[in-house]
Amino acid sequence: MRKTILTLFKRTYRTVLPSFALILILLALVPSLAAQDQFDITAFSDSTKYGWEDWRDRNVYRVDLIERQELLQIYEMESSQIGSSILKSALIPGYGQISSKAWTKGTVFLGAELLSMGVSLYFLDRSNYYYGKYLESTQIDDIQYFYSAAQKPRYYSWMFMALGAVVWGYNIYDVILTTDAYNAQVWQEILERHGKKTISMGPEGIQLRF
């Protein structure tokens, strides 16, 4: 008896389950099918939703868009690329700032870097001179004297080299800020120039502003 019930249950399970799954899928599709019915093509193609009342408004918008694209092109030409500025400043400290028209800053960075590296090299040269004397020395006082004389400039050399590294690092940080500020200024100038322009030529002909 028990075996018969189990077999019957299995048979029912096999036949009912696929139908049940199909019903569930159909139920899930119902809302989207209903939405298809509700899609309004008139609303979709209605241009007034963009604020255009008629073809004149659309034309004005198009002209405005073209002008903005032109401004963007000018901006791309006149602005500085941040990556390029960083590379320039990494190779020659201050060069990135100079290319972003920050002449004073660039000169100060270049001067500081050259000065610190120059002083570092000077002390390194002094240190090497005395170190050479130290290596040649055979007298105990000379050995101690020339070693001390070589040690002090070596410290100074490292100190100025570290200063040069700090200046270099700050120069990289600064070139990012400088380029950003320069690009903002370029955009502002482009907008001002464009605002001052009284006569402009476009596809629609010549425009005159008062």
Binding site: S127, L135, S137, T138, Q139, I140, D141, I143, Q151
Partner: protein, 147 residues
């Protein structure tokens, strides 16, 4: 606390890397096995007599222990603080030397200052000579060589 220790460690590493290397093979600080000759003491100078044909200056000092000395350099200068030049080298550990006194090597009449410094031959592990390490020079001694 950890951060401060890290900064201190970095500073220490930086300072150590800035140090000039003691590569001179005669440097006793870089090579602790090297024995530095003692400073020469008890230097005395005696000049040849008046009218001597071959004038000389005889130098006497206290000999250093043979452990740290293989010979001596004799320095001569024209003033106390002038430059001194090596005028003779004694290659044995003795306590006397004569500068001049021979027809081909005599001292002219005049005032002189003498110094003496001991040296020691320094060898590497293979027995190869690395050089002569010279110790501190003695205090200068004045001598007048009469005409």
């Amino acid at each position: 606390m950890k951060f401060r220790n890290l900064i201190l460690l970095l500073c220490l590493i930086l300072l150590t890397s800035c140090m000039v290397k003691r590569n001179n093979p005669l440097d006793p600080i870089g090579n602790p096995d090297i024995i530095v000759p003692d400073q020469v003491s008890g230097l005395q100078c005696f000049a040849s007599g008046v009218g001597a044909t071959n004038k000389y200056v005889e130098l006497r000092w206290n000999a250093n222990p043979s452990l740290n000395t293989d010979g001596y350099y004799i320095y001569m200068g024209l003033a106390y603080n002038s430059e001194y030049a090596v005028v003779d080298t004694v290659t044995t550990n003795v306590s006397v030397s004569s500068h001049g006194g021979k027809p081909w090597h005599s001292v002219k009449a005049g005032d002189y200052w003498y110094k003496v410094a001991a040296f020691r031959d320094v060898y590497d592990e293979d027995g190869k000579v690395l050089g002569k390490l010279e110790g501190r020079r003695s205090e200068p001694r004045f001598i007048r060589v009469p005409a």
